[in-house]
Symmetry: C2
């Protein structure tokens, strides 16, 4: 994808292996790109067992256990949804770490409240949730690549800061 | 990823929309790359609802219903496994079409029977299964890209030839 993403995925693997942890992911707007970046790393089967591409709301509910109430009240692109996605991804995979991504990559779907490029990230690290919103510039492909890079970069920092 | 892959994903979407069908995928060695290629297409949420990255054997069993007997008798890289993966992916998503991929991208894992670059593809098209083996040259990244391109290209031809 990009050299930066490749290096981040490699570093992530080292951090996880050192802790004997595994990671899972639940991807909406990135559509499998985080899984693809992770599995580009030879030997990633040690620390990555499964990922879920939950593009529709039904998939978010059925595969990850996101509640209908959360989706109705806050929308698919929200802190609440990515938090439930990340927890669901970790539980489904029995993983210590999970990344969830839901955003508006464009070209359609932007609103005044949630403009194009809005991406919510949910991280689940050893039992604790962290949710972060970012606003990325660029076209659909650029927003998705930036989201993948941000997710990998951030999860490494969160793993580092988890004692 | 590549222009060819992008064009194939676009064409696949047109074929599916024309039939009012949806597609799902179950990815092992491609690790989410097919989902990523599909969701690169704007509007793909109409015809793609979910995908499953089943990197481990446990994930293949739990998320897709591949039997332990199949994995033990034939291995993860086999016609039998990808057939069960594809059927499981279609059923989980209530999709008419599914792609499953399981292969040996390298650099490790090759055997005399299943050398590096061996990839099995399972296609499930409107109730019918088609399983195909390919042997790709190249390094890990090249094998994965060739597998993604082949999967998209082949599923289009199978959809075309399904009456």
């Amino acid at each position: 994808m990009t050299d930066d993403i490749d290096q981040l995925a490699q570093l992530l693997g080292q951090k996880l292996v050192a802790r004997n942890w595994t990671i899972s992911c639940a991807e909406s707007c990135t559509g499998g790109g985080i899984g693809y970046a992770i599995t580009a790393i030879s030997g990633s089967s040690t620390w990555f067992k499964q990922g879920l591409i939950t593009y529709s709301n039904d998939a978010k509910q059925q595969l990850l256990g996101v509640t209908e109430q959360t989706l109705t009240s806050f929308g698919a692109v929200s802190a609440q949804t990515v938090q439930e996605m990340a927890r669901g991804a970790a539980q489904s995979a029995s993983a210590q770490v999970a990344i969830a991504v839901s955003g508006i990559a464009g070209p359609d779907g932007g609103t005044p409240d949630k403009p194009l490029g809005t991406v919510w990230f949910g991280f689940f690290i050893d039992g604790k949730s962290h949710n972060i919103k970012q606003l990325f510039n660029g076209n659909r492909q650029q927003v998705r690549l930036k989201a993948i890079e941000f997710a990998l970069s951030k999860v490494i920092r969160l793993i580092d800061s988890s004692s």
